[in-house]
């Protein structure tokens, strides 16, 4: 039960809003973080916490694409295919991933490590092709980069190619003596 394991965090979330229902998305995120996806039991518990009916929770949960109502792989590869990325090769990237992992969009590898999804614009249109893996962005993808990302994810669970605080074009490095 979230209530027992995350009491302080739940109280903190509730304290931010004058109306309880506003805490719904944050609590659904909390449930997803803990279990990888949102279970029916979690939705029922959250309904109780917020004095909502389970259908009210379900109605909201089903609207948002980032809330997983089914389990996904450990690494959720989400490749943007909207126009700006498509102009610079996102369809090719999707093809590479499919071939390398042997899965089609929407599928998960048998070892449950990777799920491939195709998504719409993630606000990285100037640095496409790009994908989001769990919380991290990977931009200006090439086949070499992709190989490294997949290898690093398998080995260490993360990859240093992920984008830090975003700025593009990057600021010029300070010139010595300038």
């Amino acid at each position: 039960m979230l209530k027992e394991t995350h009491k302080a965090e739940i109280d903190d979330i509730l304290s931010r809003y004058p109306v309880k229902r506003s805490a719904l998305l944050p609590l659904l995120y909390l449930a997803q973080r803990e279990q990888g996806y949102i279970t029916e039991a979690a939705m029922q518990e959250i309904a109780g916490l917020l004095k909502l009916t389970p259908p009210q929770v379900y109605e909201t949960a089903t609207f948002y694409t980032m809330l997983n109502l089914k389990p996904v792989g450990k690494f959720h590869l989400q490749v943007c295919k909207s126009l700006m990325c498509a102009l610079v090769g996102s369809d090719t990237v999707i093809g590479w991933i499919s071939a390398k992992l042997g899965i089609k969009p929407g599928e998960t590898t048998p070892d449950r490590l990777f799920t491939l999804s195709i998504v719409e614009c993630l606000a990285a249109c100037g640095t496409g092709p790009m994908m989001q893996v769990n919380d991290d962005y990977y931009e200006r993808l090439t086949e070499e980069k992709l190989d490294r990302i997949l290898a690093d994810l398998r080995q260490t669970g993360t990859c240093s190619l992920k984008t830090g605080p975003f700025m593009w074009p990057e600021p010029a490095p300070a010139k010595p003596g300038a």
Binding site: L83, E120, C121, G126, G128, P171, P173
Partner: protein, 435 residues
């Protein structure tokens, strides 16, 4: 030296700038709020913003001071500010940079807006995918709270202003301001029927202002340097200040470029963004995000200000400029954007819900060389029955790619259809509600 003085990107262009509270203050941060808090009346702050000519950077370009002025003067209950950091318009990636590289600039802007409208609580509604951005904002708010700049009695005054980060969860429509409010209330992000407007019935039915990240980030500079200074930048009187334009597509140097409004597309694309990426010529560009109708090389000398782009038959919108080179298939491009709108239609209004599905199906069969000439009339007819017939502006937006490509590149549609006819492939697929 950049050709134009950067305002919003100034700090982050300094090599090594991390956006911490200490660095923001060293660069002159949190001076504007100190200058006005308890010294300039909220009404006078609003007057300065009005005089500066600042217009919303979220898409619609509504004058910011005027919007604030719509809040009821005599209402005693709570009021809210919501910062729109949903940034989901394809082609747009400026708010992400403003948030992640200089979060305190946004926070100071929010404090100023809250002070002007009398809000003690404010929320930053940030798109769910910006996990890093949300983290950076939370850290910045904690720093500011510890310094006494956010929370109770800020800067030792008797003013209380709180700022909270609220993450969306993957829905383009939540960038529309009333859908944003619904989402923030824990509901599905369905736009509300207007009127009543958020100014009187917003978050929790209380007077509310929704402003875009870039709009708010301008406020410290306007209050520091004055309305006249701001109004002298860009193309006054109607498009004042700079814009951070997001250039994407087939250019040599895509990215965010802050320039005064009123420079031409030619200058933005060929000077700032380095021109085309290869020797292929420019074929088309979208001037203001996916919702803005496509323009052609004939429009390169149009000025990047609200009025000029509108006169050219498009809109400045979110500032996302997408460039396409010779050889780009325009029907394919329109289909890509149509697929986006189909995916993101919230389903509230029938013309948009059903129409977006039909449009995608017809476009797909044309691209798959299964189209017929009558399809072009059907497309036009459908588009005309969606635009203007929905609760929010999504309906107007979703028909832009098809209508504008049909206008400028109708021959490409016709060629695809003739190819289908020649190959005798026409087997019209029935169009229904579900794919």
């Amino acid at each position: 030296m950049p050709k134009y003085e950067p305002i919003l990107l100034k700090n982050m262009l300094q090599p090594g700038y991390t956006g911490s509270l200490a660095e923001y203050e060293r660069a002159g941060g949190y001076q504007a709020i100190r200058k006005v808090l308890g010294k300039v009346s909220p009404a006078d702050v609003t007057a300065v913003v009005m005089k500066s000519g600042l217009r919303g950077r979220g898409g619609a370009g509504f004058p910011t001071g005027v919007k604030w002025g719509f809040l009821p003067k005599d209402y005693q209950g709570p009021r809210y500010l919501c910062c729109n950091a949903d940034e989901s318009e394809p082609g747009t990636f400026k708010d992400r940079q403003l948030i992640e590289r200089d979060p305190h600039q946004l926070l100071e802007g929010m404090l100023l807006a809250c002070y002007a409208i009398g809000a003690a609580s404010s929320y930053i509604y940030i798109r769910g995918e910006f996990v890093l951005g949300a983290k950076i904002l939370e850290q910045a708010i904690n720093e500011a709270r510890a310094a006494g700049y956010v929370g109770k009695n800020i800067f030792g005054s008797n003013t209380t202003i709180d700022i909270w980060v609220h993450r969306g969860a993957g829905a383009y429509i939540c960038g529309e301001e009333t859908a944003l409010l619904e989402s923030l209330e824990g509901k599905r992000g369905l736009p509300r029927v207007k009127p009543p407007f958020p100014a009187t019935h917003g978050l929790y039915n209380k007077p509310t202002v929704v402003n875009n990240v870039e709009t708010l980030a301008n406020l410290p500079h306007i209050l520091n340097r004055g309305a006249e200074w701001f109004a002298s930048i860009g193309s006054p009187p109607k498009s004042t200040g700079t814009r951070v334009f997001c250039v994407s597509g087939h250019v040599a140097r895509p990215g965010n470029y802050e320039v005064p409004m009123g420079i031409t597309f030619r200058e933005l694309i060929y000077e700032q963004a380095g021109g085309m990426r290869s020797d292929k010529k420019l074929k088309a560009f979208i001037p203001g995000g996916a919702s803005a109708p496509f323009l052609t090389p004939d429009h390169l000398d149009v000025k990047l200000d609200f009025e000029s782009v509108a006169l050219a038959g498009s809109m400045l919108g979110s500032g996302g400029v997408t460039v396409m080179e010779e050889g780009t298939d325009m029907v394919w491009a329109a289909l890509r954007l149509m697929e986006f709108f189909y995916h993101e239609s919230c389903g509230k209004c029938s013309p948009c819900r059903e129409g977006s599905s039909w449009l995608v199906q017809i476009m797909r069969r044309i691209v798959n060389k299964r189209g017929q000439l009558a399809d072009l009339e059907t497309l036009t007819d459908l588009c005309k029955n969606i635009a203007g017939r929905t609760v929010c502006a999504f309906g107007d937006a979703e028909v832009s790619p098809i209508l504008s490509t049909l206008k400028h590149w109708r021959h490409e549609y016709v060629a695809m259809i003739h190819a289908a006819e020649a190959a005798n492939l026409i087997r019209p697929e029935p169009v229904g509600a579900k794919q």
